[in-house]
Amino acid sequence: MKQVDLHIDLPGLKLKNPIIPASGCFGFGREYAQLYDLSILGGIAIKSATIAPRFGNECPRVAETPSGMLNAIGLQNPGVDKIIEKELPWLAQFDTEIIANVAGSNEEDYVKVIEKLNNQPTVKAFELNISCPNVKHGGIGLGTDKELAAHVTKLCKQAAKKPVWVKLTPNVTNIVEIAKAVEEAGADGLVMINTMLGMRFDLKSGKPLLANITGGLSGPAIKPVALRMVYQCAQAVNIPIIGVGGITDAEDVLEFLYAGASAVEVGMANFTDPYCCVKIIEALPKVLSQYGYQSIKEAIGRSFKNE
């Protein structure tokens, strides 16, 4: 087997491989660091940071669904100050690229979080979570309207001293329109997709299973939708895309590369198999060379590019 080049350079991110645990599914890495060396990872998208600490929604916060799960965590996090004080210095020990996922209740909050993180050398790029369906104010609202999405992107770009990636919600009629608006507003890249709004009901009580009523659907169930959206947007924008949604193995990664993603984030699969990122990274060279690729770059966008 020839050496396969897994390396990819993206705005702010020199990834040794394209595998990044997704925000909210990996905490700040502390738990997974007990299982393996985080330096193996291409990068880590840390849990959404908000300006003040957030305590999230009531429990139950999760429910199982066929090939997926619903979550309504509600962006629980200790707030950006605590993250700077406690988590980033700890994360600095690892040779991997840290992406700070930024969330807020309104546009100013996003800017404030970015300003606080601007001088943190551990943070290599920002990922704007304008798509979390589980918070009352802002969140999904911003991500479903192209003007609002563009506006928050613009404000964040102005404030940011590092590349700004925008994480899109799939709960929209026209994802391409939003991707383009965000690109025009200066986004350095897109991360897609966040979760899809869903529900389950408790058979006994007849009431919604989640205390928050609705939650975000993730896992293999949403992979076909994520692939479709990446495929559509990759052809409509000129900024790179990090694909997310239902990835569990190296074959899934290859599909996302074909669709036009340059790297991927892995979310729920970390719960099903806590070693899944390591396994994917190990399998990726084999799978790529099995299908005739010597680098991940060769596979990116292959579905619509002519050889």
Partner: protein, 248 residues
């Protein structure tokens, strides 16, 4: 804490709807009573948390009730088959060697973790009372097993078909058990009732979980004193000192 394929040694019906499984476990040496394992079953995307009931060399025993599709699938597995087990998880019951007596109180499938706990307190020569609550006589299990350890077992059944009629607290009163240091595990209403009476000891809690290891924030319980503080049931728990977290 590791994820390994383990082999099922046996898996049999204990009492209606409730099964006992013995399986190999690579991480027995690290385990303490009250911790849990997280089982991946084919066809299911989330793992199922089940308490460790007994640790025996390189094997463990679990006891589980069939309440849904996952536990049903588990009950259909056969000796010799392999299952993917993530273990041990969480913080269990601290063994307080300065205590002379301990009162263990369990309801239904909250009883299993108390068995290993009773074993460890008995090894230290402590006086162990165990109160087990069940809906009826037919659902009773592990009376003999606890007795064999040298623990004193008291049964409460809701319909009075065995032991004292009523809840575990009714049994405590009926049998005049005066030990004030307790370790309990069981349904929320039971723990709430106990909290009104006891303030020294530990409760084991349940919650819907995703990661089972502290990364996702699915399973939090609020601190009783600090309104804005949460504890992860899967990581800081499932065992908490009485009075630490809000039972909700």
């Amino acid at each position: 804490m590791q994820c390994k394929y383990e082999t099922i040694i046996s898996n049999e019906l204990l009492v209606p709807q409730t099964y006992r499984m013995v399986l190999t476990c690579h991480t027995c040496a690290e385990m303490v009573p009250g911790q849990f394992i997280n089982i991946k079953l084919k066809e299911f995307s989330l793992r199922r948390p089940i308490s460790i009931c007994s640790i025996d060399g390189d094997r463990i025993t679990i006891i589980y009730k069939v309440v849904g599709q996952g536990t049903k699938a588990l009950s259909e597995m056969k000796a010799g088959e392999c299952i993917d087990v993530f273990a041990p998880l969480g913080h269990g019951y601290p063994i307080e060697s300065q205590r002379d007596r301990v009162l263990l109180i369990g309801g239904g499938v909250g009883i299993p973790p108390l068995y290993e706990l009773a074993k460890q307190y008995r090894k230290l020569g402590k006086h162990v009372d165990v109160v087990c609550g069940f809906p009826n006589a037919e659902a009773c299990f592990y009376e003999a097993e606890f007795t064999e350890l040298g623990a004193h077992v008291y049964i409460a059944t809701m319909d009075g078909s065995k032991g004292c009629k009523g809840t575990v607290l009714d049994a405590v009163r009926h049998y005049q058990l005066t030990t004030t240091f307790i370790c309990a595990c069981g349904p929320l209403p039971m723990l709430k009732a106990l909290e009104a009476v006891y303030n020294d000891g530990y409760f084991s809690l349940e919650s819907r979980m995703a990661c089972g290891m502290g990364a996702c924030m699915a399973c939090v319980a609020k601190d009783q004193k600090q309104a804005d503080m949460y504890h992860r049931i899967c990581k800081e728990g499932p065992v908490f000192p009485i009075g630490k977290v809000v039972l909700a």
